[in-house]
Amino acid sequence: MPHLTLQISPGGPLVDVLVTASEERREALRRVGQPIPQPIQVRALIDTGASCTCVDPAVLRGLGLTPTGSTPIHTPSTGGALHNAEQYDVCIIFRNPEISLELPTVPVVAAELQVQGIQALLGRDVLTTCLLVYNGQRGFFTLAY
């Protein structure tokens, strides 16, 4: 089973991933002769408290993406109300000496994360297909697909 093991940092289980347009969008851009955006490296926090994956809008802007979805979302910052968040379709790539894995089509919510020192939250939607081991005693975590 391909896997990667990294140290748990003071910010939590952080992993660098590449984000680019989804496979379907890249194909559409190719067909009309528009440039394909280069993948952007982002620092992502593995967050089991997030039911969906979120990406900072600056990253989505850098990829020239437009929304293709919308979902109601609840966070402590929305209070008792729901917020209808825009969703974008992206491809997430884990590229590391230990693992090379591409998730070609992932819906993500745009959320300001840069201020928290990260650019993405990897939520349970992405974790649903993997095995996550959090070894707090030894100070590392393993993500296996």
């Binding site: 989804s22 379907e24 969008r25 194909e27 559409a28 851009l29 067909r31 009309v32 528009q34 967050d47 408290g49 997030a50 039911s51 969906c52 979120c54 809008p57 989505l60 802007r61 993406l65 437009t66 929304p67 293709t68 979805g69 919308s70 979902t71 109601p72 979302i73 609840h74 966070t75 402590p76 910052s77 729901l82 917020h83 209808n84 968040a85 825009e86 379709d89 070609p104 089509t105 819906p107 919510v109 745009a110 959320a111 300001e112 994360l113 201020v115 928290q116 939250l121 939520g123």
Partner: protein, 81 residues
């Protein structure tokens, strides 16, 4: 950065009673037109890009009661334009 999908979301809400028997599948909508329903998110997205290129369209999971996403940390969302 964003294109509002307000019109497509309105169409989704209007057409939901007709779509309910296909709950769990994914509907592709542009403007006030329901294009079709697909088994997977990726299939609906592919058809959207095939038909409309990078023009706005909506892909939405058909749910009688919409599933809410929960995030336990405070987040700030960008304003749609």
């Amino acid at each position: 950065m964003t294109n509002s999908l307000e019109k497509e979301l309105l169409t989704y809400r209007e057409k939901l009673p007709e779509l309910k028997d296909q709950e769990g599948k994914f509907v592709l909508i542009q403007g006030d037109t329901v294009v079709n329903v697909y088994d997977t998110y990726a299939d609906a997205l592919k058809e959207g890009y095939d038909k409309f290129g990078v023009s706005p369209f909506l892909v939405k999971k058909i749910e009688a009661i919409e599933q809410v996403q929960y995030i336990t940390r405070p987040l700030v969302f960008p304003c749609p334009t």
